[in-house]
Amino acid sequence: MLYAILCYHDEDFVGSWTKEQDAAVMKKLAVVQDKLTKQGRLGPVARLLPTTSAATLRKDDPPVVLDGPYAETKEQLLGFYLVDCKNLDEALDVARDLGAANPGGAYEIRPVGMFAPGSTVT
């Protein structure tokens, strides 16, 4: 089953990392990703730009565009992984590995109901 691992973290905290600290975290995460890629289990991965660049469309009638992310939370959605896992335990193992490489914040693990790979964008 395909699982989405949604990454939540305090973006002020992540934003206060130095370039070197940021690069070090990304390097550690890449090790986990490489392992999953070799096992053929890793789907799309995204790191989102800060929530200050977000806009939200509220589907009222007519729809309203709001500045900022959908939810004002202490920790923000900063990215996601799609990973093929047999069950929740396996997905949690992946999340633990990712968490060891990038401590703090939280991962929300959600099974994917429908997945369309779409065209390959770069």
Binding site: D12, S16, V25, L49
Partner: protein
């Protein structure tokens, strides 16, 4: 990440909110700072053992406040009442309740007040910037001194003076009204732009030392935008800073000489920053409330969007500078517009356009650099040489002078056989 690294990051990111709240509480900058420092010391002891609190800022405010109150009591040599005696070990349990009470209600205005205090109109720009970097960003005096290329003692003195002035200034602590809030925002955005320019205008051997100022300004702008998510001018400021800073790696050659936009290796522009900058302009434009930062960001965006220099939409840039001239009339803006005009309508028109600026820009390096370049394009080499000589005399940095000398060298080479080369443009 090591314990100390993540604690540092957590303390840095919590700082504006925590110091802002402590300032509202104690109404004294020194007390607020000291309370924050004390809270940080306790965090360094407590967090590695107990893990980070869910709300680091709330924790720091609470601890800072209690420690400071204890200190005040001790100084008054009063016996603490037993039921008031809250020792630090109780704080972890109290944390959740406190975090609830400390929630967002004051958060925005606390941080805005903290920023606004730093850019009090009584303070000269250099003191404003130093104070903001010390108080809001939490850079050490040593780091700030280094960025400003002055001694630590001199910077210490500058900050102390600024603090004294601010203490006399009596900034009100009530929640500001809409008009006052908007005035504060304008002052704060201007101060953030000043910090950025301190870093951005550096060149040569000092560029690397001063670059952190640009990053700090971006961090402050981001902080402000998160507090005021729907302010198009803050989006514009943030976009402007990102789009300019995206070019940082391409702006200097190995010797530290400035590389002009046209000659930069555009593959070295930071695409992530450009993407964020463009996204912010898109958002700002939807508000249809234009302003100087948005216009300048839009100009920077046109440069960022051009894959090659010849793809640059100079016509649009000319129009945008025209809009900026109306919003913020200044000879420097007109001078910048003239560069766009020279690309669209030729150097002769541009030269005419800047002629009236001469009296007001008679000691401005760029005026003579630009004038020399137009004259050179027109093949009026003798006049160009005079302008370039004047520019070198007015250069602020060795990189600026070196850049003009390059033009002069080219003139020398070109004029060796003859002195009357006519530009085809």
């Amino acid at each position: 990440m090591t314990d100390t690294a993540w604690i540092d990051a957590a303390l840095t990111s919590a700082r504006p909110q925590a110091v802002g709240a402590l300032l509202r509480y104690f109404r004294n900058l020194d007390t607020a700072e000291e309370a924050f420092q004390n809270a940080c010391l306790r965090a360094l002891k407590s967090w590695p053992q107990h893990g980070p609190p869910r709300d680091p800022a709330g924790w720091l405010i609470m601890v800072g406040r209690n420690v400071a109150i204890d200190d005040i009591r001790r100084n008054r040599k009063q016996q603490p009442l037993p039921d008031d005696d809250q020792s630090i070990s109780d704080l972890d349990d109290a944390e959740d309740a406190i975090a609830e009470r400390l929630d967002g209600s004051h958060y925005r205005d606390d941080i805005l007040r903290l920023l606004f205090i730093c850019c009090h109109p009584d303070l000269p720009a250099t003191q404003q910037i130093a104070l903001a970097l010390r108080i809001v960003s939490g850079l050490t005096v040593k780091q700030i001194a280094r960025a400003f290329l002055v001694s630590e003692a001199a910077m210490e003195q500058r900050i102390t003076r600024a603090k004294a002035r601010v203490a006399e200034a009596n900034v009100p602590f009530e929640t500001p009204g809409a008009v006052e809030r908007s005035e504060r925002l304008t002052a704060v955005t201007a101060m953030i732009y000043l910090i950025f320019n301190e870093g951005y205008s550096a060149s040569g051997d000092t560029a690397e030392i001063r670059a952190p100022l640009c990053e700090e300004a971006i961090r402050l702008a981001r902080l402000l935008l998160r507090l005021f998510q729907s302010e198009p001018e803050i989006m514009g400021l943030m976009a402007l800073l990102l789009l300019q800073h995206a070019r940082a790696d391409a702006r200097f050659d190995a010797e530290g000489a400035l590389i002009l936009l046209d000659d930069q290796d555009r593959s070295r522009w930071n695409q992530k920053m450009i993407a964020e900058g463009l996204a912010l302009i898109d958002k700002a434009m939807r508000h249809r409330r234009s302003g100087p930062y948005q216009v300048q960001a839009a100009i920077a965006a046109l440069h960022a969007r051009a894959e090659k220099p010849e793809d640059t939409d100079w016509k649009q840039i000319d129009l945008l500078y025209g809009a900026l001239e109306l919003m913020q009339p200044s000879p420097v803006v007109t001078l910048n517009r003239a560069v766009a005009v020279s690309k669209v309508r030729g150097p002769e028109v541009a030269l005419e356009m800047i002629a009236p600026l001469a009296p007001r820009l008679s000691s401005y390096f760029h005026f003579f650099g630009v004038r020399g370049a137009f004259l050179m394009q027109l093949g009026r080499n003798d006049e160009a040489r005079v302008a370039f000589d004047r520019a070198i005399a007015l250069a602020n940095t060795s990189a600026e002078a070196a850049h003009i000398r390059m033009h002069l060298d080219r003139l020398m080479r070109d004029s060796q056989p003859r002195d009357t080369k006519i530009s085809k443009k």
